[in-house]
């Protein structure tokens, strides 16, 4: 098993001929991901890393049977790209693009939900099932196949933790980056639900950060529904209130969203909390022993 992507993934890349899109298509193909095609309006007939380019997602799906799409188009056009993918019947869409206006994502989120599809991101590194499919911008080589499920709001911090897990001999079932924006398609709870149901995942690592209350909601969910061991880390313990820490969602406002509150709630839900990223592998080993 594993979650979200695997060797059956037939990936479409929207914005495939752009700088980011073509670079990461090559990286994904080199990792072994089955990239079946790409879309750039007006780009039909070209090919990138061996993948044929189509003008529209509908045409691409018809020709290739793509079942997952990853989006690299600029922020102003990214919501439309998500609508297009979902409208063409793609059940799982990953949006890497950062800088999308928050309110643009409100109807997008609802549309995706109404159509029964799933969105990951925006402003996320994507998802990888080591050894099967890398659908995102993460460095593939730091991952190893294994049984630890990882879900995170951050990019490089996720790589940091994955690297530490791999060095400690703890491979990953799937690593999911849900993104750092206020409105995102897949939440911690969604990912936890998938990991809990996944036979291959023996323990879950959850990496949160300041801002919002998604970690608190996740803690409540863990308490009620997750029987697998969960290890957590929260970044931003030293962040001051009222200042946006890079991610649009990483801001402590009105006393909510603090690291201290998230750590307390998660600890109360039975999550083993790491003080620093390098403590994560030890806590995972203790939890699955």
């Amino acid at each position: 098993m594993s979650i979200l992507v695997n060797s059956d993934t037939r990936l479409l890349v929207q914005g495939i001929t752009g700088k980011e899109g073509s670079f990461h298509t090559t990286q994904m193909v080199e990792y072994g991901t089955n990239v079946v095609g790409g879309v750039t309006p007006g780009g039909a007939g070209k090919s990138v890393a061996g993948a044929p380019v189509f003008n529209t997602v509908h045409q691409a799906v018809e020709a290739t049977g793509a079942n997952v799409s990853i989006i690299f188009v600029p922020a102003r056009f990214a919501p439309d790209a998500i609508y297009e993918a979902v409208d063409a019947g793609i059940p799982f869409v990953i949006c890497i693009t950062e800088g999308i206006p928050i309110l643009d994502m409100v109807p997008v989120y609802d549309y995706v939900k109404q159509k029964g599809a799933r969105l990951l991101g925006p402003n996320c590194p994507g998802v990888i099932t080591p050894g099967e499919a890398k659908v995102g911008i993460m460095p593939g080589f730091i991952h190893e196949p294994g049984s630890i499920g990882l879900v995170s709001r951050s990019g490089t911090l996720t790589y940091e933790v994955v690297d530490a897990l791999t060095r400690a001999g703890l491979g990953q079932s799937t690593a999911v980056g849900i993104g750092g924006d206020p409105v995102i398609g897949t939440s911690f709870v969604d990912a936890l639900e998938l990991f809990q149901a996944d036979d291959k995942t023996s323990a879950i690592v959850m990496i949160g950060e300041i801002g919002g209350t998604d970690e608190e909601t996740a803690a409540a969910y863990i308490k009620e529904h997750v029987t697998k061991p969960v290890v957590g880390f929260i970044a931003g313990q030293t962040a001051p209130p009222g200042k946006r820490m890079g991610h649009a969602g990483a801001i402590i406002s009105g006393g909510t969203g603090t690291a201290a509150e998230k750590i307390r709630t998660m600890t109360e839900a039975g999550v083993s909390m790491a003080n620093k990223p390098s403590d994560v592998p030890g806590l995972v080993k203790a939890a699955i022993a």
């Binding site: 309110l103 730091i142 409105v183 209350t213 946006r244 820490m245 649009a248 990223p277």
Partner: protein, 376 residues
């Protein structure tokens, strides 16, 4: 992006919301003249991008123009939690019968905007939310339809408003919601929304913040930016695609990725140091970006040592190391630098840095420990 109270009030007034209209003064004499013009009791209000002005002494009442001059001279130049007051808003005194809170924010768990109201006007909504959440009345917008009038009316009735106040309230709530959505706000707030002695509803204090990602479609908003309120270094960083936030410590941080940057600050603190800044240099950590980051970080005089923490993912560690060396060739950095480099080709990268006389470590813990020692 934040704007001042008077700017938010102007935006809302232009959208048909009744506002207690005042005038801005930058000198005590101007405040005196404005007070004379109003010819009655006035309130002098500090214009700074931070809450809690009243408690800090940034809001004073004045019965006469002379008192207004005196109050303004006390408030202008005052420091309110790190914000210097350069402007005051002088507003005519009003007869307040009742006060309410009215605001629109994004309801993150439900991913829609929400209208919030409370009969506890003038109090921080966060305080109400913490102490008596049942007193907050909410109406969630539909993702496509927005906030309908019936929802605003429901909130008005739930607040206990008399029937003659329902229509004015609905109009205000609906216009506030439209302002929030149409201007890509992250906050639109009237606190307090008052009912005057003669039964009229009016915004007495307004606050708005806007989504930085959406500023491109609201070019007019840039004109409202008060450069004096923003850290010059933070602004410059933004121009280079770098996220920088100044903090109070003495250890400068240069990191790729926002989450890792926060974790790096935490690691510095965990090892007994104090971070001087948050800085996300961006994914690739190119020579240009690192050089700019050096300039930004060293412009803070408190910085006594710099920690560079790069997780080389798709950008290889040796390329990152070359970039750091090139950046050091361009910027004269006088404080000790500790590098943590991990990921692809990190060993080659560390060797390249060692040649340039820089100490590079493989783990964040080691590097944090070393930089704290270097700054001591």
């Amino acid at each position: 992006m934040n704007v001042h109270e008077y700017q938010a009030a102007e935006i809302l007034a232009a959208r048909g919301i009744p506002v207690n209209v005042g005038k801005v003064a930058t000198t005590p004499a101007e405040a005196e003249a404005i007070a004379a013009e109003f010819g009655k009791l006035v309130a002098i209000k500090a214009q700074v991008h931070i809450g809690g002005r009243g408690k800090a002494g940034g809001i004073k009442l004045a019965k006469t123009p002379a008192e207004a001059k005196e109050a303004a001279s006390q408030i202008l130049g005052m420091d309110i939690r790190g914000h210097t007051v350069n402007k005051v808003l002088v507003v005519p005194g009003v007869d307040i019968a009742r006060e309410f809170y009215l605001g629109v924010v994004l309801d993150r768990p439900n991913r829609v905007p929400v209208l919030m109201a409370s009969a506890e006007g003038g109090v921080d909504i966060e305080t109400v939310a913490a102490e008596s959440p049942e007193k907050i009345i909410m109406a969630r917008a539909d993702p496509y339809l927005g906030l309908r009038d019936f929802q605003a009316r429901d909130v008005g009735f739930a607040l206990g408003l008399e029937k003659e106040l329902i229509n004015p309230f609905t109009a205000i709530a609906s216009r506030l919601f439209k302002a929030f959505v149409e201007m890509d706000a992250t906050l639109a707030e009237i606190n307090p929304l008052i009912v005057t002695g003669s039964g009229e509803m009016m915004a007495l204090d307004s606050k708005m913040s806007f989504d930085d990602n959406a500023l491109f479609r609201h070019p007019g908003l840039e004109d409202l930016r008060d450069l004096a309120e923003e850290n010059a270094t933070e602004l410059e960083a933004r121009g280079h695609g770098i996220s920088y936030v100044k903090l109070d410590g003495n250890i400068g941080c240069i990191v790729n990725g926002a989450g890792l940057a926060m974790a790096t600050m935490d690691a510095v603190k965990l090892h007994g140091g104090e971070p001087a800044n948050f800085l996300d240099v961006g994914g690739g950590a190119s020579a240009d970006q690192v050089a700019t980051a050096f300039q930004l970080v060293t412009s803070d005089e408190n910085v006594q040592a710099i920690l560079i923490n790069i997780f080389g993912g798709i950008t290889r560690g040796d390329v990152v190391a070359q970039g750091i060396r090139e950046a050091l060739g361009r910027v004269d950095v006088k404080v000790p630098i500790v590098v943590r480099l991990s990921g692809t080709n990190a060993e080659q990268g560390r060797a390249l840095l060692a040649e340039a006389g820089l100490t590079a470590y493989g783990t964040m813990d080691e590097a944090a420990q070393q930089v704290v020692a270097a700054a001591a």
